[in-house]
């Protein structure tokens, strides 16, 4: 038994320390939003956050995240309303949708640090995430849209504090 902190809750999983985090999340916890794509860190479909950093859960051992905070697509926001999730709907990004959990988690780790990314910064950050439906241009637009919303929200928060 290993205890993991996933989406803010401590959960026990029966998995060997060296087994991939991906399968513990999907099978043991039955949170299937995190996807298996390549098993080799080449596609990004399995991206989750560990202490806020985007990692490939197929390349991350269960034992390595003990005591750390793991966030999956299911825990990114309370009601599926993270600015990126809203932007993904507004831009109608997903086609088959299979890679999109990973895309959103990868993008979220960018916007957590930089709410004003350039197009080049977006491309550099997202290039490891494959989308076989080729929704790349909409992914870019959605990230820009979400970044804009986050800036506007933080600006108004600043303004409120100022007054």
């Amino acid at each position: 038994m290993v205890t993991l902190n996933i989406n803010g809750r401590n959960m026990s999983v029966e998995a060997a320390n060296d087994s991939p985090l991906l399968w513990a999340i999907r099978e043991q916890l039955q949170m299937t939003g995190t996807k298996f794509g390549c098993g080799a860190g080449l596609c990004g479909a399995c991206t989750v956050h560990v202490n806020g950093e985007a990692v490939r859960s197929c390349q991350t051992a269960v034992g390595d995240v003990v005591g750390k905070k793991v966030t999956t697509i299911e825990g990114l926001s309370a009601h599926g309303d993270h600015p990126l999730q809203k932007a993904w709907i507004a831009e109608q990004v997903p086609q088959c949708g299979y890679c999109q959990s990973g895309q959103i988690m990868q993008a979220a780790s960018l916007l957590a640090k930089n709410t004003n990314p350039t197009k080049d910064e977006i491309v550099a950050h997202m290039d490891g995430n494959l989308c076989r439906c080729m929704t790349y241009s909409r992914i870019q637009k959605a990230i820009m849209r979400a970044a804009n919303e986050m800036r506007t929200a933080s600006n108004s928060a600043t303004e409120r504090r100022a007054t």
Partner: protein, 763 residues
């Protein structure tokens, strides 16, 4: 002409499920599903109103459309709901979708089977879904008149809008929900009644042509959409397949599971005995978890007999293709118009060129998977699949039971692109479930998925053209040599009679070669490369034949135009004169080409040195199911031959737009597939096996390789055509032609490499 498409009069299709038992169903593959009582639990609860097999309305007013097509990202479920909703008069936010089981009542009304491909779905279901929606509206309206206490002849005064039926004169209104609750909507429709319904004309549409929010998208942003790989059944265990080093034809000699037995959770190694011959030499390692199954699979020591294909390579397949093409008596004719031999004899000039494409792999992001569960006499299969009718039969064959005892539970597809027309994933799942007596979910590793793909075959084409003294194209011989993907299905209705009466041919290797250019003497010969067919069982990869036939045709037309000193785009316009059987289609294609040229600034924009624009135009997919698509590619070529695509301008005539935004998404995705196949994706066969195993060696387009893509959609009120595939086929020749215009290098093999461009620059 392809016999599976029986749609000479689209308006005459109706909802009778008995009237359309053509295609697979007529050739003995029909599932006797209805013999299984209560096999599919998700039937509508009592109290719902079901005016059609395609949807039901619950007492709370929600309209649930059952989609018989596989939804692999083309949002076809949402599109079907949109077409129903238009005629029904429901509020879009009241619409829901569910995915159909393999019950034949959900068969495609035109194809008579459950198969999703060919960019067929919208064009072949538009009429049936419209009539289903209209029938529901009529039934609800008549019931509403009763509820309102209006005499029946008042029903024409009722207005149906946004799930509400109102009578403006008396200011009475009643909701769909209230009508359903009343139980008064009971009218039924015979096929003749349905046929007689007068549908809306396009000027009356309020929803068709509107980019409504796709119903499935929210679930694909929060992790809740369920794909085949996400299926969880009580007591389920996991299977990881071990596949041989040879793509097809190997057999297992021995399995040593000594080390696998040391892996915790390991249950059993199951040698797949595949009577359907879909797979060869596969073993399934079954364990309690997938991580354990992977470990156990790695620990198995398996010895193989490599079989007859173990020495073959891409080069052997190409050599064999060239040998076959050189024989006068090989192949069968798909097109034989006029007398090309005579025309070549009198031609002022003849030209010849060879075009090749390498093996390509589907590689959808969701690796192949299937979950099998035996419950009493019934085999339940959970998997996202594009061809339930045939796949159910394959699963039954793997289980050794009658197909009527197989229930297929459709899931969202994490990409299809034609890959999920095949049913190989069901074979190991079924046999493992049988062997261990528990439900088994088999998940391919990416390595299994790539090396065991039913790939786009290696193709070799040779074209000979004859020109008259004015440079006019008067004769064309076009030989197409490839594995035959659709012949592999063994379903006669999907084959096409040859025009030289030498038996059926696989038109899904030559579609597109029967183009809309007027060429008085024109032969197209389909030659089956038996060696490739056996060694690399091929499949239908997004756009199928037009993905290679137009590479050859549209490159060759360009070569011809340049050789006679004409602008290649205007040369095409001359060939698209609309004479004879090309009338209609040719003009639409011409107009689309001109639109793309105008949008791209073809011939007007000043380009830098080393840059060029190239055009191509295509009538993908099949002649009977064509869309009209043109592309202008703008490329920059470096002295070392590196090609940068700066912009793709794509125009497409789709007749009627159901969902403009989705069409743009599909066309852009298809065009980028075309780019990916043109420049980046290449698989190779060596020692009988596919050499590429993961995304480090097989390299679909990534975000950093994205060019500017401009898509323009022409909607001229003709029937809705398909949009998922045609733009795949137009991009590679447009890029090849642009490279020639940029640096004078002609490339004739896909994918285009810098080395090949540099070599051609020297030539």
């Amino acid at each position: 002409m392809n016999s599976h498409v029986k749609m000479t009069d689209l308006q005459s299709t109706d909802l009778s499920r008995r009237s359309f038992l053509v295609g697979a169903a007529a050739s003995g593959l029909m599932l006797g599903y209805s013999a299984v009582p209560d096999a599919f639990a998700a039937t509508a609860p009592a109290g719902n109103f079901e005016p059609s097999v395609w949807y039901s309305i619950s007492p709370d007013g929600l309209v649930t459309v059952t989609c018989g097509k596989a939804d692999m990202g083309q949002h076809i479920a949402s599109t079907m709901a949109q077409i129903v909703c238009e005629e029904l008069g429901a509020k879009w936010s009241d619409m829901r979708v569910q995915l159909a089981s393999n019950d034949p009542k959900f068969n495609d009304p035109v194809l008579g089977a459950q198969i999703t491909g060919g960019s067929w779905s919208t064009m072949m279901n538009f009429d049936a879904m419209s009539r289903a929606g209209a029938a529901g509206r009529i039934a609800l309206t008549e019931a509403a008149a009763t509820i309102m206490g209006l005499p029946p002849y008042f029903k024409d005064e009722l207005v149906v809008r946004e799930s509400m039926i109102s009578h403006p004169k008396s200011k009475k209104q009643v909701s769909f929900a209230d009508v359903v609750k009343s139980g008064k909507a009971t009218k039924t429709f015979t096929p003749d009644d349905l046929k007689a319904i007068k549908l809306k004309t396009p000027d009356q549409y309020s929803l068709i042509g509107v980019s409504v929010p796709q119903i499935d998208i929210p679930s694909k942003t929060n992790g809740t959409a369920k794909y085949g790989i996400d299926v969880m059944l009580p007591g389920m265990v996991y299977g990881k397949i071990v596949t041989p080093p040879v793509r097809y034809g190997a057999t297992v000699k021995a399995v040593d599971d000594t080390d696998a037995k040391k892996v915790p959770g390991f249950i059993k190694a199951v040698i797949v005995d595949d009577k359907t011959q879909t797979t060869t030499g596969w073993v399934v390692a079954v364990a309690n978890t997938y991580a354990q199954a992977r470990k156990a699979a790695d620990a198995l020591k398996i010895t193989y007999d490599g079989g007859p294909n173990a020495k073959l390579s891409s080069q052997s397949l190409l050599d064999e293709a060239k040998r076959l093409q050189g024989l006068d008596d090989s192949g069968q004719f798909f097109v034989k118009n006029g007398d090309t031999a005579a025309a070549f004899g009198t031609a002022a000039k003849t030209m010849e060129a060879e075009y090749t494409t390498n093996i390509n792999i589907h590689a959808p992001m969701e690796p192949m998977n299937a979950t099998a569960e035996f419950k009493g006499d019934i085999l339940h299969i959970y998997s996202g699949n594009q061809f339930a009718t045939r796949s159910g039969a394959i699963a039954a064959g793997a289980a050794g039971i009658d197909p009527k005892y197989v229930v297929m539970h459709q899931m969202w597809l994490g990409g299809g692109f034609g890959r999920r027309l095949d049913a190989d994933m069901m074979v190991p799942a079924v046999q493992a479930a049988k062997a261990v007596g528990k439900p088994v979910k088999v998940i391919y590793s990416r390595e299994n998925d790539m090396t065991m793909d039913f790939s786009r075959p290696l193709t070799y084409q040779k074209i000979k053209a004859g020109l008259d003294g004015d440079g006019k194209l008067v004769a064309l011989n076009h030989d197409v040599v490839s594995a035959w993907p659709t012949a592999r299905w063994g379903i006669p209705d999907f084959l096409t009679p040859s025009v030289d009466k030498r038996g059926p041919l696989d038109s899904f290797t030559v579609n597109g070669a029967d183009f809309f250019y007027t060429v008085p003497n024109h032969n197209v010969r389909a030659i089956k490369n038996e060696m490739a067919h056996n060694a690399t069982p091929s499949g239908q990869l997004r756009s199928v034949a037009p993905g290679w036939t137009f590479w050859a045709v549209e490159s060759m037309i360009d070569e011809i135009a340049h050789s006679v000193g004409k602008d290649p785009a205007l040369y095409r316009v001359e060939l698209l004169d609309g004479k004879g059987e090309n009338d209609g289609g040719a003009q639409r294609l011409r107009n689309t080409l001109l639109a793309a040229m105008g949008l791209a600034g073809y011939g007007t924009k000043q380009l830098a040195k080393g840059e060029g624009m190239g055009v191509a135009c295509v009538s993908s997919q099949e002649r009977k199911t064509a869309s009209w698509t043109a592309c202008v590619a703008h490329v920059a070529v470096s002295p070392s031959g590196e090609v940068t695509v700066k912009k793709l301008t794509v125009a497409t005539d789709v007749g009627t737009q159901v969902h403009p935004d989705n069409i743009r998404a599909q066309v852009e995705g298809a065009a980028l597939w075309g780019l990916s196949l043109a420049l980046y994706e290449k698989a190779t066969l060596k020692d009988g096996g596919i050499e590429q195993t993961n995304f480090d060696s097989y390299k679909p387009l990534r975000m950093s390789q994205l060019p500017e893509v401009a898509v323009s959609v022409i909607a001229n009120g003709e029937h809705a055509t398909g949009v998922g595939e045609p733009a795949v086929t137009v991009v590679a020749p447009a890029i090849g032609n642009a490279i020639f215009n940029a640096v004078g290098a002609r490339v004739r093999s896909l994918p285009i490499t810098a080395a090949a461009v540099k070599e051609a620059m020297k030539a």
